[in-house]
Each structure stands twice: as structure tokens, then as C-alpha cells.
């Protein structure tokens, strides 16, 4: 009834090509943004901010980054946790050594440095693909883990190897309380998600998707594989690097070298498998799922009156994650984003059968 596009005629190319072609979608998006920006800070609790929303937003950004590479360009990476750590340590060192820099500049620079490193490790993708590339990116993961744990300069000669960051200050507005962190992240993520959505609609995204679907055919119709793959690696690591910097500065505050280990890389991969490969929206779904499920698993036994040890909960979590990955790969390879799309399709007809 409500969700129908009858009568919405598109009379110009501009209207036809817009990001949200259906009026109801635009209204929904506007209301959603109004809600999360306007009402969110007043009605959400600090617990919700700190344990769900802040990690969710950052990981969603990282998942978008990984999705650009894996979902859109079809290049597998098991080393994106490493690129997050590059972003985090780059931001740490920039903020430490050039304190006069604005945090936004630091963030962008950290992303660019991560993009450079990503490009470097993306070079093998020009010659190899699939499983071989998975191993090459794993090499990046282990090498970066080691670099940040052992090369003392990166951690500013901290004896324990762990670093802690100063409070973020943007034009006199300090990001210290949970509400402010949330608003800051929300703004950053909104901008980056919007850019990503438009990137994948533009010529760059189309080149990536052509490369993913069939590289030989893409080359034949004039897409340069070097350009397509390296831009995918660069943009993807830029996003992930920014997410890493935010993860370190806003969420963790202080962290140890192994905060960005292979489990983080695998978790990012799970987010996009569960959320939906090749979907920006899916990255949000997946990130939310991965953040919320452990919390739910921790709480659920108490609600049911069963006592479970933490080891039990983490084992259960691993089992559920594992089964869900297999389940989604078999039943719905497009993930939660596809379920959302199916829901919308159904809603268009509802309540009529045809």
C-alpha cells in the first residue's frame, strides 16, 4: 500500500540515475538520518553507544572497505586487519609527531598511508588470483603484525609495545563523551558510505564489477586490469585504514600490537559474507550482526536462567559464526542485503497478491 512506485514517472536521465529512485526510499532515508542524528543522541544509553553503536559504525566502515575489494572487484583478501593496523599506527604517529595537525587531516593521511601499503600488497593480484592471492594477503597480515610489534619506532619506544592516544579535538570540539564519539563517527561513516555508494555506481565501480565477473571479457571491452585492480586495492585500503585509525582513537583509545590480528581480518570477511557481498547496505547489516551477536549470546543465557562460562560462550559463538557462514554461502550467497531486497520486493505488492 505505502511502498509503491505507481505514478512516479522518470522524465529525465537525471531522475532515472539517482541513487534512490523511489520516493518512499528517499523519505525513509531522510527519516532514518534525522532519527540517528537528531533523536539518537538523546534516547540511546551510554551502554548502547559504547558496546554496540561505536564499534558497529567503525566496523561498518571497514566492512565497506573490504566489500569494495572482495564484493565488487572479486579479489579476496585475508589481510585487511593489517591495513586497519597500518591506519591506526599511521594516525598514532602523525598525531604524536605533528600535534598541530587537525584530526580530520590525520584521518585522511592515515587512510592514504594505508592505501599506499594496500597498493604494495595488491601488486601480486596483477599476476595471481584466488587462493594464491589469499596467501599473499595473509603474508601482509603476518608481516604487519610483526612490524608493529617489533619495530620500536612505530610504538614510540613504549616498553610494553602498547600505545595510547590523546583526546581528539576538531576545531575546539573535543570528542570525549560517548554521545560525541557517536555523532562524530556517524558523520564520518555517513560521508564515507555516500562516497562509496557513488564510487560503485560510477565508472570505477563498474570497472571493478566487470573485473570481478569475468576479467578476460572486461579486458576485451577496454577495462585496464592494472587500473581496476590497483584502484580497488587502494580505495579499499584507504577505507580500512581510516576505519583502523578510528578504531584505535575512538573505540580502543589504547591498544596492543595484537589488537589487529588475523581474527579481525577473518571477522571483517564474515561481516561481508553474512551482510552481503557487493552491497554497501550489506556491510552495515554484517557489521551490526557481528557486533551484536556476541553481546546477545552473552545476555541470552541469563535471560533464560542458564549459567554459562565465558569459555563456553566464546565456543558457542565460534560454532554459530561457523554454521552461519556455511548457511549463508549455501542458502543466500548475497547475504542479509538480499533478504532486505526480497522484503522490499514483497512490500511493493503487499497486500495484493499480484
Amino acid at each position: 500500500m505505502l511502498y509503491r512506485e505507481n505514478g512516479q514517472f522518470k522524465t529525465t536521465y537525471r531522475q532515472d540515475q539517482q541513487m534512490l529512485p523511489i520516493l518512499q526510499d528517499r523519505i525513509f532515508m531522510a527519516l532514518l538520518l534525522l532519527f540517528v542524528f537528531g533523536a539518537g543522541p538523546f534516547i540511546f544509553s551510554d551502554y548502547l553507544f559504547l558496546s554496540i553503536l561505536i564499534p558497529f559504525l567503525i566496523l561498518a566502515l571497514a566492512a565497506i572497505g573490504l566489500n569494495l575489494l572482495v564484493g565488487y572487484c572479486g579479489q579476496i583478501s585475508l589481510g585487511h586487519g593489517a591495513f586497519m593496523s597500518v591506519g591506526a599506527y599511521a594516525a598514532y604517529n602523525l598525531a604524536l609527531r605533528m600535534p598541530q595537525l587537525n584530526f580530520l587531516v590525520v584521518l585522511i593521511l592515515a587512510g592514504l598511508i594505508a592505501a599506499l601499503v594496500g597498493l604494495l600488497f595488491g601488486i601480486p593480484s596483477l599476476r595471481i588470483r584466488g587462493l594464491y592471492l589469499a596467501v599473499a594477503t595473509l603474508a601482509a597480515q603476518f608481516f604487519m603484525d610483526w612490524t608493529f610489534a617489533r619495530v620500536k619506532w612505530f610504538t614510540n619506544y613504549a616498553p610494553s609495545g602498547s600505545v595510547s592516544t590523546a583526546t581528539i579535538d576538531i576545531f575546539g570540539w573535543t570528542v570525549d563523551t560517548p554521545v560525541r564519539k557517536y555523532l562524530f563517527l556517524l558523520a564520518v561513516v555517513t560521508v564515507f558510505a555516500l562516497v562509496a555508494k557513488n564510487l560503485v555506481r560510477g565508472h570505477m565501480g563498474r570497472a571493478w564489477m566487470a573485473m570481478r565477473d569475468m576479467d578476460v571479457a572486461a579486458e576485451v571491452i577496454g577495462i585496464r586490469p592494472v587500473y581496476a585492480k590497483l584502484t580497488a586495492f587502494g580505495v579499499s585500503s584507504f577505507y580500512v585504514g581510516v576505519a583502523g585509525a578510528l578504531w584505535g582513537f575512538v573505540y580502543l583509545g589504547s591498544w596492543e600490537p595484537l589488537a589487529f590480528d588475523i581474527n579481525l581480518s577473518l571477522n571483517l570477511l564474515f561481516m561481508i559474507i553474512i551482510g552481503g557481498m557487493g552491497s554497501i547496505l550489506g556491510s552495515f547489516f554484517g557489521a551490526f550482526f557481528i557486533v551484536a551477536l556476541p553481546i546477545l549470546l552473552n545476555q541470552a543465557p541469563e535471560w533464560l536462567g542458564i549459567h554459562m562460562s565465558t569459555a563456553m560462550v566464546s565456543n558457542l559463538e565460534a560454532m554459530i559464526f561457523g554454521s552461519l557462514i556455511i548457511f549463508f554461502l549455501i542458502v543466500e550467497p548475497q547475504g542479509l542485503a538480499r533478504l532486505w531486497a526480497i522484503g522490499k520486493e514483497k512490500l511493493r505488492l503487499w497486500p495484493f497478491p499480484h
Binding site: 579476496i76 584466488g130 603474508a139 620500536k152 586490469p225 565456543n315 559464526f321
Partner: protein
């Protein structure tokens, strides 16, 4: 020709790296041989895990990330069951468990995902890894368990007359090496002399052709996952007897990835040789190269064995993408 040249360059490079510590006088021969043997020992374990990878990859084209989890699960099963029954019975039962596991994986994971992209299958085995790790530790517990094979652990001094100070060798290391050799010999016999082995080789050569002459692919997959499970069991028992059964055992799979790159995805001799090269290379690098690097760059400790294997594998990828013994064909982009 180019391949041969590259191969020669790589071999010369590896050999040069191998004898460098000795030639430059950085170490005395006795200590050098101890390091070498230690590396070979670790290499045997990498080879065993890589062997599991290669078996499954050859037969079903699946890159089995879960091999490490299988090692852990098998070792946990043996360790916990051996607490209440004799070791041989526990091992037999564990073999049974691995066969059941192979059956379940084939039914629930491989069959629905047949003909999918290799990367999708890789991600599915990632799911299997998580599930198996969680399941194993739920059922068997997540402490450190011991497997007692009844072999004395104290090292033996040999060749005292040849080298100053002699060489220390662990008896259980020797036993492990012998067990590995026996396992590989048995596998070779199984593959060459039995009907099932012939079917397995046929499937590995060409799925379609094998299916068209009536070899049941599904059953072959169950068999090959079972064999990989048994290999994982042996690797797990050896590892567990040496260092105790704990979660870190499953991480050995990550070390086996470079091994299969080095040896070639489809070659059993490649997996064995690759494992030995990685094992020795890693130990040598850690003992002889790391102190130099620490001094030169003022690092906080060595630990380069964490990534050395991967760098070696990357080097191979650049020069010799199909590995030492892999099939010549490779997906070039």
C-alpha cells in the same frame, strides 16, 4: 627453459642461505646441525598438515582452511579419550570420529556447494574451521592436555667424537619422523596399489572423466576427507605429544599455507619437500638472521619466523608460481 632457469636460481639461493651460517663461521658445526635437525622436525609437522591440504585439493578442488582445526580436533579427541581408555583404542575411535566428520562435511558443505568458485569454497572451510574449533573445545574442553606415547623425553647425546660437545637429539622427535615416513609410505601404497587409490588418482586427474566412467565423486570426497582426517590425526598426535594439545595447534595450518605454495597445490612430494624447506628455513632465519636484524634495526626481539615462511612463499610466487612440483598450468590474469 625459463622455468628451469628460475628453478635453478631458487635452488642455488636456498642452498646458499642454508650453508651461509656455516661458511661464514657464524656458528660451530655441532650447533648448526642441531638447528638443522630442529628445523627438519618442525618441517615434518608442516609437511603432514600440508599433505592434508594437498590430498583434499587434488580430489575436490577445495582449499581446506580447516585442516588446522582438524588437527586440533583429532588431537583433542585422542588426548581426552586416552584418559579413560588405552591409547590405541582412543586412536582408533578418533579415526572413526574423523571419518564421521568427513561424511558430515561432504553432506552438509561440499555437496550443496558443488561447482562453486574456489574462493567461495575457501570461505566455507573458514566456516568449518570456526565451527570445528568451537565444537571441539565445547565437547573436549579448552585446557592443555597431554598425550603420552610412552617414549622417553630426555634428549640423547650423539656423535660426541665428531663434534665438540656432541649433538642433542630428542627420542620422540626421531619417533615422530619415523611415524611420518611410515604414514607417507602407507599413503603411497594406498594410492598406487588399491582400487580406491586408483579411483582417487583418477578423480584428481580429471573430475569429469572420472565421473563419466562411473567413479562416484561423492564417495571419493568422503574417502579423501577421511584420509586427510587421519593425516591430521597423526600430525595432531605428534604435535600434542611434543608440546601438549592446545588451541595453538590449530594455528599450524597457517604455517602450512606457504608450504603448499612452495611445493605446488597438487603435489604430495611437493608438500613434503616444501614443509622441510619451510621448517628448516624458518629455524635458520630465526637463529642466525634474527639477531643480525635485531642489531641492525634496533628491534624489540626477533620473531621473524612468524612471517619468514610467507615471504619465502611470496618469493616463490613471483618466480615460480606453480611451485616446485605443481602442475604447469596456472591461472594467469
Amino acid at each position: 627453459m625459463k622455468r628451469n632457469r628460475n628453478l635453478i636460481i631458487l635452488c642455488v639461493g636456498l642452498l646458499a642461505g642454508l650453508i651461509a651460517p656455516l661458511a661464514t663461521g657464524a656458528s660451530d658445526p655441532g650447533f648448526y646441525i642441531e638447528v638443522l635437525l630442529g628445523g627438519l622436525m618442525a618441517g615434518v609437522l608442516y609437511s603432514l598438515v600440508a599433505l592434508g591440504f594437498v590430498l583434499i585439493f587434488k580430489a575436490s578442488g577445495v582449499f581446506n582452511f580447516a585442516q588446522g582445526a582438524m588437527v586440533l580436533f583429532a588431537a583433542l579427541s585422542v588426548a581426552r579419550m586416552a584418559e579413560v581408555m588405552p591409547l590405541w583404542l582412543a586412536t582408533l575411535l578418533a579415526v572413526g570420529i574423523m571419518v564421521v566428520f568427513a561424511f558430515i562435511v561432504e553432506r552438509l558443505v561440499l555437496r550443496p556447494l558443488v561447482n562453486q568458485d574456489p574462493v567461495v569454497l575457501l570461505m566455507a572451510t573458514l566456516g568449518v574451521t570456526y565451527f570445528l574449533n568451537g565444537f571441539g573445545q565445547t565437547v573436549w574442553g579448552s585446557d592443555i592436555y597431554e598425550i603420552n606415547l610412552g617414549i622417553a623425553k630426555e634428549p640423547v647425546m650423539i656423535l660426541q667424537s665428531v663434534f665438540q660437545g656432541g649433538i642433542l637429539i630428542n627420542k620422540d622427535d626421531v619417533a615422530a619422523a619415523i611415524a611420518a615416513v611410515v604414514l607417507v609410505a602407507l599413503l603411497a601404497l594406498f594410492f598406487q596399489k588399491t582400487k580406491t587409490g586408483r579411483a582417487l588418482r583418477a578423480v584428481a586427474d580429471d573430475h569429469l572423466a572420472a565421473q563419466s566412467i562411473g567413479i562416484p565423486l561423492n564417495r571419493i570426497w568422503v574417502i579423501v576427507w577421511s584420509v586427510a582426517g587421519v593425516v591430521a590425526l597423526v600430525a595432531g598426535v605428534i604435535w600434542g605429544a611434543k608440546l601438549g594439545v592446545q588451541f595453538s595447534v590449530s594455528q599450524v595450518a597457517l604455517k602450512a599455507l606457504p608450504v603448499v605454495i612452495l611445493g605446488g597445490f597438487t603435489s604430495i612430494p611437493g608438500a613434503i619437500l616444501g614443509g622441510l624447506i619451510i621448517g628448516v628455513g624458518e629455524k635458520m632465519a630465526e637463529v642466525f638472521l634474527a639477531p643480525i636484524a635485531v642489531k641492525a634495526f634496533d628491534l624489540a626481539g626477533g620473531g621473524i619466523e612468524n612471517w619468514f615462511a610467507y615471504v619465502l612463499a611470496l618469493l616463490f610466487l613471483l618466480v615460480l608460481p606453480e611451485g616446485l612440483f605443481g602442475e604447469k598450468h596456472i591461472d594467469r590474469v
